[in-house]
Symmetry: C2
Subunit: 164 residues, 2 copies
Amino acid sequence: MKEIVAQPLTPEDFAPFGDVIERGADPISINAGMCERHHDLARLDIQGGATGISLFDAEPRALPYEFNLVERHPLGSQAFLPMTMAPFLVIVAEDKDGTPAPPKAFLTQPGQGVNFYRNTWHGVLTPLESPDGTPGLFAVVDRIGDGANLEEYRFLESFKVVQF
Amino acid sequence: MKEIVAQPLTPEDFAPFGDVIERGADPISINAGMCERHHDLARLDIQGGATGISLFDAEPRALPYEFNLVERHPLGSQAFLPMTMAPFLVIVAEDKDGTPAPPKAFLTQPGQGVNFYRNTWHGVLTPLESPDGTPGLFAVVDRIGDGANLEEYRFLESFKVVQF
């Protein structure tokens, strides 16, 4: 089985796939200095539907993590905002003539979310187990509406993601 | 100084002010049963601008908490999605002829966010101190764009929020 070494998630490495939603160097100070606003961090791209907020509650996984399924959403970007400080695994793949290229994997730091651009191949939501039993809870900002907004692709051979 | 006893945050009590964004009784099962999608939990209402995702990093406060300032946003709803499991304080007030009525205060449970409806009077973001030094980090879904989207009101007398 092919191994993928998970990399730390950085905006530079993730740029082809989406936005890393994290605190930056130049926030706006609001509320008399009591709060920093890191402004407008995601390129939302919702086609022919509404933008909405949902919660995803996913089963935490462990590394090494095996998978063969990726998916993408032709009609909208999809942002994952962790509601805990536990890290999660972000699997993505470039597109090559309509099917995914070999995937990459990133591991988040506490306080990082991601926004997958519309049509980015990505793995299903994979929070990682933490010793204190933190749930795999995320706020998701994506497209609400009818239409064929899910395309799945199953690789013939599974991949195994291992820790860097 | 007038005291306000913080109440547990429930959708019923919060209904005049906005949405409680929390897991519900009837999620959609996705990802082969590994994830529950609690679908479309907030009534976003963005006027004449774009919907965006920002991060707010606020100084955690302690109870009892004194305040005399509330604000509202005439051009858009504003959702606060905590990126930690620490509770936060939600202060709101009904409108009475253009100024806020006496405020109410709610205390969240882990995994609860809120979406203030457009034009709801509310206090500034007030995460609460936790023993392990958790930061006051939130993802915020609100209006991105120019325009007069902030109205502030300062009560003549401060209020003091105390624990229920």
